[in-house]
């Protein structure tokens, strides 16, 4: 109902008063609510603080597998290098150095 109903009622607008607060248990609800929110987030905080230790204990029995979802890009680059001879790789390295040097000279 709220204010509209109160305003329309025979007594007119109910003035601001603390009785509304005490009748509705507002302070008790507020304190309880804050305690619950703090409890939940404190527990989360404590859990996060303990998490590295929990995980390192688990690590002994269940070692983390390699992150295969990132692997394709690295594996792909390794695979692409596999077919190349040492000579090709040396030529590529020389090319890179030459390019860097030319850029450097051009800047000067």
């Amino acid at each position: 109902m709220g204010i509209c109903a109160q305003a329309a009622g025979p007594e007119g607008f109910v003035p601001f008063r603390w009785a509304n607060v005490s009748e509705g248990n507002a302070i008790a609800i507020s304190i309880t609510g804050m305690v619950i929110v703090f409890t939940a987030l404190t527990l989360i905080s404590a859990f996060i603080a303990a998490l590295p230790r929990i995980l390192s204990a688990i690590e002994r029995y269940l070692p983390a597998v390699e992150d295969h979802h990132h692997a394709p890009a690295i594996a792909e680059s390794l695979r692409s290098d596999e077919g190349k001879s040492d000579e090709e790789q040396i030529v590529a390295a020389i090319g890179h150095i030459l390019h860097t040097e030319i850029q450097h000279v051009l800047k000067q």
Partner: protein
């Protein structure tokens, strides 16, 4: 000629009230704020246009407004179904609390909890900032609102639009439009409301504090966190099940890295679609006849109070923590505990850099910021449970 006169009577011009005109001006103001000032354009443009749409006078016999729902009609002894307006079906997602959890799914899929995981004590700042909600609950009842209405209004202090809409739809559906508009307005005004409070409550020396860079967080930590945090929150406050569940489900989709397609959809296309529908429907629900009431002004006043108290609560709690910590926190980051992701964290960065342009607080502020999202969802769950008992 008679037909023309009858038609003219049905036009918006003839039925337009002063209230409708005022609301249309407010809608245009929202769009202007978004376009000119860049205040939350993704929210204010849909809401602003929705306000304009919702305040075009409609014809009584035609189902056009968001409140024209489909219903069963008894006529000549037979029951027939009268279809509702298109807008009412879109508004269904708001009135039944469907959209907010979907938004939370998207938020979860785009949130990186790493900074919070690297510095767990910052989680407490997200709890402290919820003080605004609970003090406003007392304020609401003092002003004569019922406990349920007060709870729905108080959640504006959580600075979380979807949470405010969700709780209002559960506790006080008749105040939904005013609460939603107030919540989103204050979220858009974070850069205006927060800095004066932050500066007022901190000294220059405190604002200059630099914090240690966050540590690297392992993938395992990031995967385990949403599952355990969900269990903690919902076992303590089951009322937060829907919001917290969707938030952490979205985060698990992201962090597991095996559901990248789903996470990507949740944080892009899906959240965008829901934001458009939610913003537009909320805007369209603010018809002058229902929105321009004295209680709307009180809701806006209480919302501002709630937001200011929440900001102050976060900052003061950070200062209090500094009394016990060897590595001091920059108390400005406490202001980010009000959620409003990521705007309040950006404001912290901005205020911090005004004092020291080389101090980067954004990463640190994101921790209380995301903790604030969890805190406000838990607070909403608590209020829902307690006030409907």
């Amino acid at each position: 000629m008679d037909i023309l006169i009858e038609f003219l009577k049905t036009t918006g011009f003839s039925q337009m009230t002063l209230g409708n005109a005022a609301m249309i001006v407010i809608g245009i103001a929202f769009i202007s704020l978004a376009v000119v000032k860049d205040y939350e354009p993704l929210l204010l443009v849909p809401i602003g246009f929705g306000v304009i749409v919702g305040n075009i006078p409609t014809i009584a016999s035609m189902a056009l407004s968001v409140y024209d729902e489909g219903k069963l009609v008894l006529q000549d002894g037979s029951i027939s179904y009268s279809t509702g307006s298109v807008l009412s079906y879109i508004y269904f997602g708001v009135s039944q609390g469907v959209f907010p959890p979907l938004i939370f799914l998207g938020i979860g899929a785009m949130t990186d909890f790493s900074t919070m995981l690297s510095n767990p004590k910052l989680v407490l700042l997200g709890a402290a900032a919820q003080v605004g909600i609970f003090l406003t609950l007392i304020g609401g009842m003092y002003l004569g609102f019922t406990p349920a209405e007060s709870g729905a209004i108080a959640i504006i202090g959580g600075a979380d639009g979807p949470t405010a809409i969700f709780l209002a739809s559960r506790l006080a559906p008749h105040l939904l439009g005013a609460i939603a508009i107030a919540a989103y307005s204050y979220m858009a005004l974070v850069p205006v409301i927060q800095p004066p409070i932050m500066k007022l409550l901190t000294t220059r020396k405190e604002r200059l504090i630099r914090m240690k860079p966050p540590r690297q967080v392992s993938r395992r930590e990031r995967i385990v966190f949403p599952i355990v945090a969900f269990l903690i929150c919902t076992l303590i406050a089951p009322g937060s099940l829907v919001l917290i569940g969707m938030l952490f489900f979205g985060n698990l989709l992201k962090e597991s890295m095996v559901t990248e397609r789903l996470a990507n959809t949740a944080r892009t296309a899906m959240i965008d679609i829901v934001t458009i529908l939610l913003g537009f429907a909320v805007g369209a629900s603010t018809q002058a006849q229902t929105f321009l009431q004295p209680e709307s002004l009180l809701i806006f006043g209480l919302g501002a109070l709630s937001f200011a108290v929440a900001t102050a609560g976060g900052v003061l709690f950070a200062k209090m923590m500094n009394l016990f910590l060897r590595e001091k926190l920059n108390p400005l980051i406490g202001a980010a505990g009000v959620s409003a992701v990521p705007d309040s964290a950006r404001v912290v960065q901005m205020v911090g850099q005004q004092e020291d342009p080389h101090n980067f607080l954004l990463m640190h502020a994101m921790a209380p910021n995301v903790a604030g999202v969890i805190g406000s969802a838990v607070a909403a769950g608590v209020l829902w449970s307690v006030l409907t008992l």
